[in-house]
């Protein structure tokens, strides 16, 4: 059988994962890399299907069936552990003298090099296995760097978003944030109360003691509003001395009135800025989303505006509920009323 010996020698150089089977399907030779997968268990002498399980095509269980698959792609698995998956191609030898089956790892290469401690020498010089391993590592490293950049950019984006929704002077939410929140509440049909608060006499503090004093007063007012509301209420500064407070799930006018009274009471207390005593107060108008059959943001804002206007008209430092406006404009909150 000199011919078979020559062939085996050739195969060892060209494809170190070959299997040579005889006409009975018995393994006569295997490539050195393939044998490395089952050290101490010589494959030669065993039946091919005893060492390898044919996963696809599934119907084939005999060697003659296997022989008929010449040129087709085979999916195999090693019996025993690790059950490494292999790809294969069978080429029958002339005159029915058996066949050569060439195997390769396919995608299982990553696990295989680790499981069997394979080295470059285990692959033929033309095999792309080493290049594949190189690429996997290089791409993973590049991907990791990109991922960490993405995480940092995401952090920066969140911070920017937070800033975009924050009134930088007071740390309260701003108009944009309020619009988003109101949009959510209305579209989600969640009940809420909206309090529109305007600082009284703020302009005179600004004029008398300067902008620094004005800023100080705004910050103090913001602090008072935060302290007098619950954590999941939202306080927003929507203009120079205008604030809106959203009370989620609130429709009790008695509670709202007592909150408004506390706010006004605290805002009225003189605020000391450097050597000046600043005096402001607050006027508040309140509307409930439940007062409208199908509430719209503009409608509720308008209702609170009207109530605020009424509070101002009655002499400032007051709280007025939209429901108390009576027949005057009840249910007709469409006319815009500017607050000062």
């Amino acid at each position: 059988m000199k011919g078979a010996g020559d062939l085996a020698g050739l195969l060892e150089t060209l494809c170190p994962m070959f299997v040579l089977v005889d006409e009975d399907g018995r393994i006569t030779r295997v490539g050195p890399t393939l044998q490395k997968l089952r050290p101490g268990q010589p494959m030669a002498g065993k039946d091919f299907l005893e060492v390898f399980e044919l996963v696809r095509p599934r119907s084939v269980t005999t060697l003659s069936g296997l022989m008929s698959l010449a040129g087709a792609k085979l999916h195999l698995k090693l019996h025993g552990t690790p059950r490494t998956a292999l790809k294969g191609l069978i080429a029958p030898l002339p005159q029915g003298k058996g066949a050569v089956i060439n195997l390769s790892f396919g995608i299982s290469i990553l696990d295989a090099v680790r499981d069997y401690a394979l080295t470059s020498a285990d692959f033929s010089g033309t095999d792309l296995a080493i290049e594949l391993l190189y690429l996997v590592e290089a791409k993973s490293a590049a991907m990791e760097a990109s991922r960490s950049l993405n995480l940092r950019l995401q952090g920066a984006m969140l911070a920017a978003k937070e800033q975009a929704f924050t009134d930088m002077l007071t740390g309260l939410k701003n108009r944009r944030a309020l619009d988003v929140l109101l949009g959510h509440l209305v579209s989600g049909n969640a009940p809420f109360a909206l309090m529109h608060l305007d600082l009284d006499f703020f302009k005179s503090v600004n004029d008398q003691y300067g902008h620094a004093a004005g800023d100080f007063v705004l910050q103090q007012a913001a602090r008072i509003m935060i302290e007098e509301t619950r954590n999941d209420d939202t306080v927003a500064r929507i203009g120079g001395d205008e604030f809106v407070i959203i009370f989620k799930g609130m429709s009790d006018e008695v509670i709202l009135s007592s909150i408004a009274a506390r706010l006004i009471d605290r805002l009225q207390k003189p605020m000391q800025f450097e050597n000046n005593t600043c005096r402001v107060s607050g006027s508040i108008g309140t509307a409930l989303s439940t007062q409208f059959s199908s509430p719209k943001v503009a409608e509720i804002m308008n209702a609170a505006d009207l109530a605020l206007y009424e509070a101002k008209r009655k002499g400032r430092s007051r709280h007025c509920q939209y429901s108390a406006l009576g027949g005057l404009c009840h249910g007709d909150a469409t006319s815009g009323v500017a607050s000062d």
Binding site: V113, R114, L118, Y134, E137, A138, A141, L149
Partner: protein, 195 residues
């Protein structure tokens, strides 16, 4: 200049000379930030300012610093990923030297916008080589001397490296292999994986 290159310089300065040195450099180079992003691209001018600032701060010539940078890229434990990628080039140091012809292509395969100058290995004798570093990145040949020296250690080979003038526009590095199996070298496990 690609962020990976800038990031390499930053990492080298931080690890070798300390964070405070890097902050001084970033300040002197007027970066306006202290961290390069590996996956962004910066103006070439930025890299030049950084290198100038490093040289001024350490009072050392640029070629020397770039050579140390090359050594750092291969030998420092923090740079293990890069060392592994280079070791894929070959089983022996000589095979590795021959793989340098493909280095810029290999790099582009991994990071498509990272363009390194072409390298060309000329075998003068089985133990003598000339590596031509083609133009495109000032100082590249200095970095490569550091890389090649460290890779020789990595493979356990004893090699002498030196700059050997110009060949046309290319800068030449001469490599003389004294002994290919001088020491044991560092282990390279093909299947090693990060946990």
């Amino acid at each position: 200049m690609h962020g990976l290159i800038n990031r390499a310089v930053q990492s080298f300065v931080c690890v070798t000379y300390g964070q405070s040195c890097w902050l001084r450099v970033a300040d002197a180079a007027e970066l306006g930030f202290t961290e390069f992003e590996a996956m962004l691209v910066y103006d070439d001018d930025v890299t030049i300012r950084v290198l100038d600032a490093v040289c001024a701060d350490l009072k050392r010539p640029r070629a020397e610093i770039l050579e140390d940078l090359g050594t750092y890229l291969v030998s420092h434990p923090k740079m293990e990923d890069l060392r592994r990628l280079l070791r894929f080039g070959g089983v022996t140091y000589v095979e590795f030297l021959h793989s340098l012809d493909d280095l810029s292509d290999r790099v582009r395969l991994a990071v498509s916008d990272l363009c390194l100058p072409a390298l060309e290995l000329i075998e003068v004798s089985p133990t003598e080589f000339r590596l031509l570093c083609h133009p495109g990145l000032a100082g590249y040949s200095s970095v490569m001397v550091g890389v090649l020296r460290a890779m020789a250690d990595d493979y356990g080979a004893l090699a002498m490296l030196s700059h050997d003038g110009q060949d046309g526009e290319a800068e030449v590095i001469s490599v003389v292999l004294v002994e290919s199996a001088f020491a044991k070298g560092r282990h390279f496990d093909l299947g090693a994986r990060k946990s």
